[in-house]
């Protein structure tokens, strides 16, 4: 058993030394070829990342593209099948559409709701409340809870005899509804996931937005006040535009993160008919069913969806994100 650890320790030290040697070698070679002192140092400092980019990003990225045109189960060498994987995805695989719908619905509902809630909370916290540090700690707490613990906790709270149903019990009784088991109910599984996610990310977004609010110069408000703008006018015309870069950041990260939900779905199995998260589906295709080629094609579609969403938000940002000239420069 000790060998498990020594093996990895050896690998770890070996690769660390390797990266160091490449850094030094890069510097030496660049200097020999007459590259300036500053540039040579710069290049050799970023060598670890360059190596990582080639080995762990660009290489796998292209390999995944190639695999997506093949049938590959690891045991036999990949077999080129052209666009078959993509054709199958869009024409034959009904589960793909269920999963896609589930993932998109989840993100489209979860992200804006979370953002609005966080904005409201951050605004409340920005009203010169007493004990701000304490409030912020409190609201941030769910974000530091490991996803595994969050998922198990909510799975437990959403069971038939769980806390949520107990709290809802008076209403359920009033309308004569049986206690639902949320995560196994085909209609309730999505709302349940969304409620859990809102609880989880809410605080992190609140803290980021609060920092953004605190960064808005006070004189802007004073100027608006002098101009006779009321509280709401000031909020709409000063706060929101000044906060928009932060909102934009939270929105982008929220979309990317929520489309890629993975771990929690492993702790909470949703009914197959309701669908699951795209990343879980890709994992199942690749590692449970051994369809590496098909899974790679799904991964590519996932990348395109993320790019599409990001692009849409970026495009629309011209209309609603306000950048101060100088602020943008060092960012």
């Amino acid at each position: 058993m000790l060998s498990w650890y020594t093996l990895t320790l050896t690998d770890f030290v070996g690769v660390g030394v390797f990266v160091g040697v490449v850094m030094v070698a890069t510097h030496w070679v660049l200097r020999r070829f007459g590259v300036g002192r500053e540039a040579a140092a710069g290049y050799s400092l970023i060598v670890p990342w360059i190596l990582g980019l080639v080995i762990w990003n660009a290489g796998p990225f292209l390999a995944a593209l190639y695999l997506s045109f093949t049938e590959y189960n690891i045991l036999q060498p990949p077999r080129w099948i052209g666009l078959d994987n993509y054709v199958r995805m869009f024409t034959e695989d009904r589960q793909f559409w269920t999963v896609l719908r589930f993932t998109l619905l989840y993100s489209v509902i979860n992200v804006p709701l979370g953002l609005l809630g966080a904005l409201l909370t951050a605004t409340l916290l920005n009203q010169n409340v007493k004990g701000l540090g304490g409030w912020r700690t409190l609201y941030y707490l769910p974000a530091v809870l490991p996803a595994a613990a969050t998922a198990l906790l909510w799975r437990w709270m959403f069971t038939e005899n769980g806390l949520i149903n107990s709290i809802l019990s008076p209403f359920l009784n009033l309308f004569g509804i049986a206690r639902p088991a949320w995560f196994t109910d085909i209609d309730l599984v999505l709302p349940a996931f969304i409620i859990m996610a809102l609880w989880g990310v809410f605080g992190a977004n609140t803290v980021i937005l609060l920092a953004g609010l605190k960064n808005i110069p006070r004189d802007l408000y004073d100027a608006a006040k002098v101009d006779g703008a009321g509280t709401i006018r000031r909020y709409v015309n000063v706060t929101i535009p000044m906060l928009s870069p932060t909102l934009f950041y939270v929105l982008i990260l929220g979309i990317i993160g929520s489309l890629q939900t993975f771990a929690v779905a492993f702790f909470i199995e949703s009914p197959r008919r309701a669908g699951t998260f795209m990343n879980v589906y890709i994992y199942q295709e690749a590692f449970d069913r051994g369809r590496m080629g098909y899974a790679s094609a799904l991964g590519w579609i996932m990348l395109l969806i993320i790019l599409l969403f990001t692009l849409l938000v970026f495009r629309s940002s011209a209309a609603w994100v306000h950048y101060e000239g100088e602020k943008n420069q060092n960012g």
Binding site: M1, T8, I46
Partner: protein, 318 residues
């Protein structure tokens, strides 16, 4: 917090901004003649509403935590009592040892500590080197490379997962801890690089230039001057990195198959899957979930300033 060196940099720089995020920042700004101080009865109503809403939100946040702890101390019989038992009766602390010894949890803890420590060392060290390179040295292609770095954050991890798996399989390292740790030498956290670069940018160049004139080389300047100056940022990254590696589920799931090699998070998932469907022992589950969360919660209470700094730097200065 007081024991830390003052954040370096110009007033407009990131560390200075981060300082305003700190807990005392609010108070500092609230001077004697605060225009927002409530005066009229209507203002007082507003204040009450604000605190009321915050308290409701706080309760929504806290109740699940309390429920996790309370469940973990319950007997099997009182698990599904109605109305729900907030304070367990009887209190059963024995759930913890019972769950802990039913599976190799101590081995899983050791594995988690082992992989987390190794990955953290390499991840933080290389992120600092790369960030320093991007922040301080002019070289052709620097901006293009930095944009590439930022855009790798958008790459869905699942896409490159299969080829990465094949690489580790090729070098015979499936079902070892190596895939979870060794990759960290390649500066695998673009967001950490970004965060550190923002900090390095705020440090006046004169400080390094003086050292270089004194004959120090790049690594000496980096280690003896730059690293101490960005210590708050390093600590911010350290807590994020700890959190990320401690909770790394995806990697463990894909690369590890031997039960005794699992980290806590995978063990917890295995434990959850073994629970019976008819009478799941949620008390034992919640006990182990609490144990898994405990180190991070403790760290958060000790070093929350760094959690918040790491979180906010991208959003506010990005």
């Amino acid at each position: 917090m007081a024991s830390l060196p003052a954040a370096p940099g110009t007033p407009g720089g990131a560390p200075a901004d981060l300082a305003t995020v700190g807990p005392q920042a609010g108070q500092r700004r609230r001077g004697g003649n605060d225009p927002d101080r409530p005066r009229t009865p209507l203002d007082w109503v507003g204040r009450v509403v604000v605190y009321l809403l915050l308290a409701i939100g706080g309760a929504i946040i806290l109740i699940p935590f309390f429920w996790m702890l309370s469940t973990s101390l319950k007997s099997d019989a009182s698990l599904i009592a109605y109305p729900p038992q907030w304070i367990p009766n009887p209190v059963v602390p024995g759930n913890y040892p019972e769950a802990w010894t039913s599976l190799p949890f101590d081995r899983w803890l050791l594995n988690t500590v082992f992989t987390t420590v190794l990955a953290m060392i390499a991840e933080i060290f290389t992120a600092a080197l790369v960030a320093y390179g991007f922040a301080r040295f002019r070289f052709p292609g620097r901006n293009v490379l930095f944009i590439i770095l930022l855009s790798t954050m958008m790459l869905p991890g699942i896409l490159t997962l299969i080829p990465k798996f094949l690489i580790w399989r090729e070098v015979g390292r499936i079902d070892t801890f190596s895939p979870l740790t060794v990759g960290a030498w390649f500066a695998w956290g673009p967001s950490y690089i970004f965060l550190l670069r923002q900090f390095f940018l705020t440090i006046p160049r004169e400080i390094e230039e003086a050292a270089i004139i004194d004959g120090a080389n790049v690594f000496q300047v980096f280690r003896e001057i730059m690293l101490p100056l960005v210590k708050p940022a390093l600590l911010a990254i350290a807590v994020l990195s700890f959190q990320g590696n401690w909770n790394n589920f995806e990697g463990a799931l894909i690369y590890l198959s031997t039960l005794e090699k699992y980290p806590m998070v995978l063990g917890l998932q295995f434990y959850g899957a073994t629970l019976s469907n008819t009478a799941p022992q949620w008390n034992l589950m919640m006990a182990m979930a609490t144990v898994m969360a405990l180190p991070i919660l403790v760290l958060f209470f000790l070093a929350q300033r760094y959690f918040i700094e790491g979180l906010t730097v991208g959003g506010v200065k990005g």
